[in-house]
């Protein structure tokens, strides 16, 4: 019999964490659901993009040229007469009709059913140069959805696995398995193994979701979106890795401070708020460059903030690197502090361990 090296011990614990989770039906079902939802989302996005969302407009040969430049937003139907155009508008086959005649400088008239078609009017007043600018920038809605995607994925994964690690620490403490474990291996090895195991699971889920997103976008012909999202997605994976380790270490420490599953909320609630904050902030402020810049450097929101900024091209090349360095430093600090709390609390049964006691050397 050999005494285990630190890495071997860590790996054994990791293996058990991953193995027991992979055999839990609840985990497999929830992961399957998550993947299915992602797949449906991507496919639905593809269908929505495929279906013609252009505004149908009836035109006469003389007026077709007016909207020729707006081909990607307006679907034209050529009609034989103005009367036919009116009929199409009344029947709802087209939203509006563009017929010759009317006051200069336009020389045409827009016919609509019962309200002024303001969107169409706005389109018609757009000059070609402005149009070039608008297709170049990321549109508002897409920005929002990308922010929502990163925010939601981070929020769900961090919360799921953060809670998992905290309750598994409490389980070991409550059932006293921990006393057996640490009579065999060091507390540090145990903590490291638990954090690593859950990080692997969380990363697995993230990579699975990313793969579904990438493959789904490719298959459903949303290639252009893929070009724009590839780099942010890769950055998201990297940021998520360290962001999650940071949270996992803190969740483990929070779990170690209580002795019963019922009390777990008392110490994990502050962490849960910490995980939820970036999600809501990024969603509410995704169009505010200053707030986003700050969020992309704060370690707890950087995994969501920075990829969104990279997506909308607001980040310089060095910014994600700097943010990553800050995240890494915070991560190391969190591990040191958590290891201390964990070591001081894991064998103290009964009342919740006070933070000051847990940090004492």
């Amino acid at each position: 019999m050999n005494t285990r090296s630190f890495t071997q011990s860590v790996w054994l614990v990791t293996e058990r964490e991953v193995g027991s989770k992979l055999r839990s039906k609840a985990f497999l079902i929830s992961t399957g659901l998550l993947f299915a939802l992602a797949l449906i989302g991507v496919i639905w996005g593809g269908v929505a993009a495929d279906s013609d969302s252009r505004t149908p407009v009836a035109v006469r040969p003389g007026t077709a040229a007016v909207v020729a430049q707006l081909d990607d937003v307006i679907e034209t139907t050529e009609v034989a007469s103005v009367a036919e155009a009116r009929d199409l508008v009344s029947s709802g086959d087209v939203d509006a009709a563009l017929v010759p005649g009317g006051a200069e400088p336009f020389g045409y008239t827009l016919i609509a059913e019962d309200s002024v078609p303001t969107t169409l009017l706005a389109m018609l007043s757009v000059s070609p140069e402005v149009e070039l600018l608008t297709t170049d920038a990321v549109d508002e809605q897409l920005r929002y959805f990308v922010a929502l995607f990163f925010g939601l994925v981070f929020f769900v994964a961090a919360l799921t696995f953060g809670t998992t690690i905290a309750s598994s620490v409490v389980e070991e403490k409550q059932t006293r398995v921990v006393e057996l474990l640490i009579s065999a291996i060091s507390t540090r090895a145990l903590l490291a193994g638990k954090v690593l195991g859950n990080t692997i699971l969380a990363m697995g889920q993230i990579l699975g979701l990313s793969a579904i997103a990438v493959i789904g976008l490719a298959v459903t012909d949303q290639g252009e979106l893929l070009d724009g999202i590839g780099a942010p997605l890769a950055w998201f994976a990297v940021f998520f890795l360290f962001g999650f380790i940071l949270l996992a270490a803190l969740y483990a420490a929070a779990g170690a401070m209580v002795s019963r599953q019922e009390d777990i909320g008392a110490t994990t609630t502050p962490l849960t708020l910490l995980v939820m904050a970036p999600y809501f902030l990024v969603i509410f402020f995704n169009d505010n460059p200053v707030v986003m810049a700050v969020l992309s450097y704060v370690p707890f929101s950087a995994p969501v903030g920075m990829p969104v900024r990279i997506f909308v091209d607001e980040a310089q090349w060095w910014e994600p690197l700097l943010s990553l360095v800050i995240l890494l430093a915070t991560c190391v600090a969190a591990i040191v502090v958590s290891a201390k709390i964990y070591q001081n609390s894991i064998l103290r049964m009964g009342a919740r361990v006070k933070l000051a006691d847990a940090l004492r050397t």
Partner: protein, 294 residues
């Protein structure tokens, strides 16, 4: 040989262990007896290194105990702990691997041990589906699977039926016979009395008595004797220096005031007829226990 000297532990103002010192010898079963809150669990946890001590020393074969030594200890905590949802065999294999065995070795050992403890049929069941008694057996397997040199078991017999007690006792005796130093605490004084070679009695955080079981009994026996005669033993009542405790025909239990009295009674008994039995009555562990903790 595991030795404690001057071990002290306080929680705030409350001193739970005061100058605790005793020895557990290799190849022997040492019973650790004390009332609730006497300090048994605290002492055991300090020996295991899962709890720090304020002062004093724990040495193994004369050298201060290291974390490496402790990895070769077997431990059964007071409150039972195994993963409820993990399968019995898997769990014991996992613990054996944490202690350094390869997967194959760990599996062989765990299977053999669980079979020895009578859990051969339940290897693939999850721990939470086992009865309390069977969970206890699994717990004992967890403490033994890595063939520890030192075994520290907190109440290994509580919750076991008499048959299971015998199974577990047999396993522990085998381990001791192979050279392990075994310390176990128990409230079941009859089991301790039957099983242990050595005895440590703790009360109020201090060691009240420690030594071999027979030595302690001899030390505490107050010259109480049992006499069985062919004829009537009524004459004992008039014998000087004799205090009759029980008398029924040829059967008597009495206390003698000196060794001379004992010898005189024996001679008189032999003169009076056939002597079927003449033996010192050792106090039971329960009696010794009550006496020393007062």
């Amino acid at each position: 040989m595991l030795q404690l000297t001057g071990v002290t532990k306080s929680y705030g103002e409350h001193r739970v262990l005061d100058d605790v010192a005793f020895t557990i010898d290799d190849g022997r079963l040492t019973g650790f007896v004390g009332g609730n809150g006497a300090g048994k669990t605290t002492t055991m946890r300090i020996m295991l290194g899962v709890l720090s001590r304020d002062s004093g020393e724990v040495t193994l074969d004369g050298a201060p105990l290291t974390d490496g030594d402790r990895r070769n200890f077997g431990y059964m905590p007071e409150e039972r702990g195994l993963y409820p949802k993990m399968k019995v065999l898997e769990q014991i294999v996992y613990l054996a691997r944490l202690h350094g065995f390869s997967r194959a070795d760990a599996t062989t050992r765990a299977t053999a041990l669980l079979e020895e403890l009578g859990l051969g049929e339940r290897l693939r069941d999850s721990v939470e589906t086992l009865s309390l008694g069977n969970q206890q057996r699994a717990q004992i397997a967890a403490a033994l699977v890595h063939d520890p040199k030192v075994l520290i078991l907190d109440e290994p017999f509580s919750g076991l039926d008499p048959l299971a007690v015998d199974v577990v006792a047999g396993v522990l005796q085998t381990r001791a016979a192979r050279g392990a130093a075994v310390l176990f605490s128990s409230h079941q004084l009859d089991v301790v009395e039957r099983l242990c070679d050595d005895l440590v009695i703790i009360a109020g955080g201090t060691i009240r008595a420690a030594g071999t079981r027979d030595g302690l009994r001899a030390g505490f026996s107050s010259r109480r004797l049992e006499l069985v005669l062919g004829g009537d033993a009524g004459w004992l009542r008039t014998e000087p220096g004799v205090d009759v405790v029980e008398l029924d025909g040829g059967y008597a239990i009495f206390d003698a005031d000196s060794d001379e009295t004992v010898q005189r009674v024996l001679r008189r008994a032999m003169e009076s007829g056939d002597v079927a039995s003449f033996a010192p009555r050792h106090p039971s562990l329960a009696q010794i226990f009550k006496e020393v903790i007062q």
